[in-house]
Subunit: 527 residues, 2 copies
């Protein structure tokens, strides 16, 4: 049992909810449990019985939780005043989420214009509690000015010595309400697949969708892991190439699954690039009304983008990805060893998406990519693990906030409105996706500049980052050629909308721009 303690507003519940699934444990909030147990709200208990009685109930519930099965427990802020509870806590792992007094007050304060909470002597209460918390804590984690994700990462680190060997992998949780899953990042993750798969009693077979002859080493590693797990591996090998991302391929895969008697609890595993994971995802989401899905992306682009977030897709002659679903995998394995030997151009293309995350959400990721460009392009494992894990964490957060892209998730399309048009006019396969995204971000930067949203230095930063990675940052593009492709887009309605930066690390979506501004941005892209 891991117990989180701290003053009100320390984030015990938020952190606990994120932490528990990473450790594969249930989460228990003692206040919530008391309410469930008594059938009365905490307010009602206080009101009808007073604080003393509440503490008695709390003591009993806490004792039971601490004696029960392994869990992450958020402890009510005042529970540490109980001596019985304090003794019980000596036998368990206690993490104190600490925050300075001023920040605690700020967090629990209501709207500052209408302060609802004015504690009689809050500083005294805070100081008194702090002493208790520090006395009980096995580890103290400073939470000031840090995002919950970062706090969880540190708690994990502090607890690491107690964890199993898979602690050497970076685990990013995609925290969807009813089907959260992990993206596990590291060198050699695939070989540990058997220990990472969520439990399932009913799975007997694993249907691996992959290209034989292309990823044979990975297939052997995967097969061994599946067999250790007691799953019967079946290889389905569809035709390769973007043109195979079709309903014909899907139908052939359905037929194979039917003939091999795929059960709805059996696993589908997509091992390969974006075409494979998109098709495998679509098939898994629609066969037997949905089968558990594992993605093993073998390109950097797949590891930082395509395999996370649940978008599946198949092309129609009319447009790419016109048929598809939003279907979340049960697990994503990002093994940087699979990237070994990839051509520079392939890594470059993936790094373009990494810089996208930097531009829209995390400036420090841009710094990292610029500083470590040589190692990244050389395939250095540690550097790759870092950018993959950080990119995955950003994507996970955005997807969790807006799974079905009704709003915010659109910022992940930064540079992509231009990029799709560039790819389509060039002819798919004639330009790498990452190169097109790089050019698209460059065009979007010029457009944001035209609109007065950003200054020259932000445009310059785009140019420099792309240069450092050896990605193109100028191109001859004409609005008369791009425009018709936008009008066919499934997101187009009454005018194209752009994702544009407000500053480095912050993007807005749904922005309209006058045609002549777009034309001027494309003019600047030519120079």
């Amino acid at each position: 049992v891991i117990v989180l303690i701290g003053f009100m507003g320390a984030g015990k519940t938020t952190v606990g909810r994120l932490l528990a699934p990473r450790l594969g444990l249930p989460f228990v909030d003692t206040d919530a449990l008391i309410e469930t147990r008594t059938g009365a709200s905490v307010a009602e208990i206080f009101e009808s019985k007073g604080e003393g009685a509440f503490r008695e109930i709390e003591r009993e519930v806490v004792a039971e939780v601490l004696a029960g099965p392994d869990a992450v427990v958020a402890l009510g802020g005042g529970a540490v005043n109980d001596p019985v509870t304090c003794v019980a806590l000596e036998w368990t792992t206690v993490v104190y989420l600490d925050a300075p007094y001023s920040e605690s007050m700020h967090r629990i304060g209501a709207d500052p214009g209408r302060p609802l909470l004015t504690i009689a002597d809050p500083r005294a209460l805070y100081e008194e509690r702090k002493v208790s918390y520090e006395g009980l804590a096995d580890a103290t984690v400073d939470t000031s000015a840090r995002a919950p994700e970062a706090i969880v990462q540190e708690v994990m680190l502090r607890l690491a010595p107690e964890e199993d060997e898979s602690a050497r992998f970076r685990r990013v949780v995609v925290p969807l309400a009813d089907r959260r899953y992990e993206v596990v990042v590291g060198a050699g993750v695939l070989a540990a697949l058997d220990s990472l798969l969520p439990p399932s009693d009913d799975a007997e077979k694993a249907f691996v969708i992959a290209h034989r002859g292309v990823v044979d080493d990975a297939l052997n590693t995967l097969r061994a892991a599946l067999e250790r797990r007691g799953l019967e591996p079946h290889l389905l090998d569809p035709p390769s190439g973007e043109e195979s991302k079709s309903l014909t391929t899907v139908e052939a895969l359905y037929t194979e699954l039917a003939e091999r008697r795929a059960h709805r609890h059996d696993l589908v595993i997509g091992l390969g690039g974006g075409v494979i994971t998109d098709v495998a995802g679509f098939v898994a989401s629609t066969f037997n009304r949905g089968m558990p899905l594992v993605h093993v992306p073998t390109t950097l682009l797949g590891q930082v983008d395509a395999a996370i977030g649940g978008k599946t897709g198949v092309n129609l002659p009319h447009a790419k990805n016109l048929v598809g679903t939003v279907y979340q995998p049960a697990l994503v394995i990002c093994d940087v060893e699979l990237l070994r030997g990839l051509p520079h151009e392939e890594l470059r293309s993936g790094l373009a998406e990494v810089t996208k995350y930097g531009f829209i959400a995390e400036p420090s990721l841009l710094d990292f990519v610029e500083q470590r460009a040589v190692e990244l392009l050389a395939g250095d494992a540690d550097a790759l693990v870092d950018v993959v894990a950080r990119s995955a964490a950003i994507k996970a957060e955005v997807v969790a906030a807006d799974e079905f892209e009704t709003g915010e998730r659109a910022i992940l399309n930064y540079g992509h409105t231009f990029a799709h048009a560039i790819e389509q006019t060039a002819g798919y396969g004639r330009i790498r996706h990452g190169e097109a995204v790089g050019l698209g971000m460059m065009a979007a930067a010029y457009l944001a500049r035209e609109l007065g949203r950003i200054g020259d230095e932000v445009v310059e930063r785009h140019r420099r980052v792309l240069d450092t990675l050896g990605l193109p940052n100028r191109a001859e593009l004409d609005i008369d050629v791009l425009e018709p492709t936008w009008q066919h887009d499934k997101k187009y309605r009454g005018g194209v909308r752009f994702v544009l930066l407000a500053e480095i690390g912050k993007a807005d979506y749904g922005i309209e721009a006058p045609r002549e501004m777009v034309a001027r941005a494309l003019e600047r892209l030519k120079r």
Copy 2:
């Protein structure tokens, strides 16, 4: 604003959560709002400031909620002690959820073996509050020994005079966590579609999947409603019949949608029987990664079963519905006027599914079907509205508890394990689905009897209900013929499992039965 008041355990939050969506209003729980507002739990506020301060905050929050936009509000149990709040409540609709003292105590009591809650003088508190509640209430609803659904129905009735004209329809909410939707039941509902559609700014077109020449009156009604709503109607008319429930049909529909530039916010409407709604649902769930979907079932079977719950499906040569998704519609329109003129056999087939709900969940529905069989088979609108709404409510509840059929939802398959095998060995289309379900339930009853789960009188009830509806209740079936079909089923794994009754109104799932027992049950079905 509608305010729910009552003693702890009265079910204010439970009832409020169910009631609000029926009235199209948001739900507000004042305790929860106080916690959000202050950033502190109620316990923390009591602890740091005492009850007096809590009441002050509560008074302010309640005043703000009562002055705000229309909503259903669950009021903290003690808020009525505040004179300012009492005055404010005079201007709003107040519903008192009443329960006898003993039942209230029972509900808020913890595990009776370990009573956590022992109020000093609970009866005095209860009596005092009751006087306040009664004084404030515009309507008092007795909650004793009633399911939340029934309480909500009564609250709706008591509030009815204030509602709009669509109150003449029965509205069943399918309460899924993040995408709840309504099944609207009545005579003439389709003509009111424009007022029932959820709001959407971005929808411009509505793609109606239906058979011209079969449902022309309904199509005209629908077209007019769509035009009133400002939506451009497009008719897609796929081939008819079970054999058209294929990937070929799906691909043709995709092509039409692509050519007509269907946008992801445009509507897909399935108007027809189960084949149409299954295919329309699949297409809507996979085109543009999901489009808003409305079902307008035109068979009784569709209205009570197929169109509710989100299962979509397409057949492969290997088995029915092998490809499909779980994708919830935005709205289901059950217009009993569309059933007018349907052949008796068609109504009978639908009524078999209705009796299924009676057997697994609600004995009174069985009584109703037996008593009103003549009117139901004659297509009496009032009787049909009643059985459709009650069936939809049962299905909605089961689906909400287990959307992806990981457990409980399996009880909806009562009789269906036998029925599917019967249909498959007879050849699809040779026996109506409802007739097969009737025989399947009869076989399941014999099997439950063999296993000693139920007595002869329950078996007899099955026979009588089927007789009353003119459905067959005996058949020549052999286990050697049925068994192979089970082994192909997508749910089969390591032996067939049955849904069997424990009593009338209560079903269990996942039950194994020795082969010779199944054989004996089929023997009895022959007599």
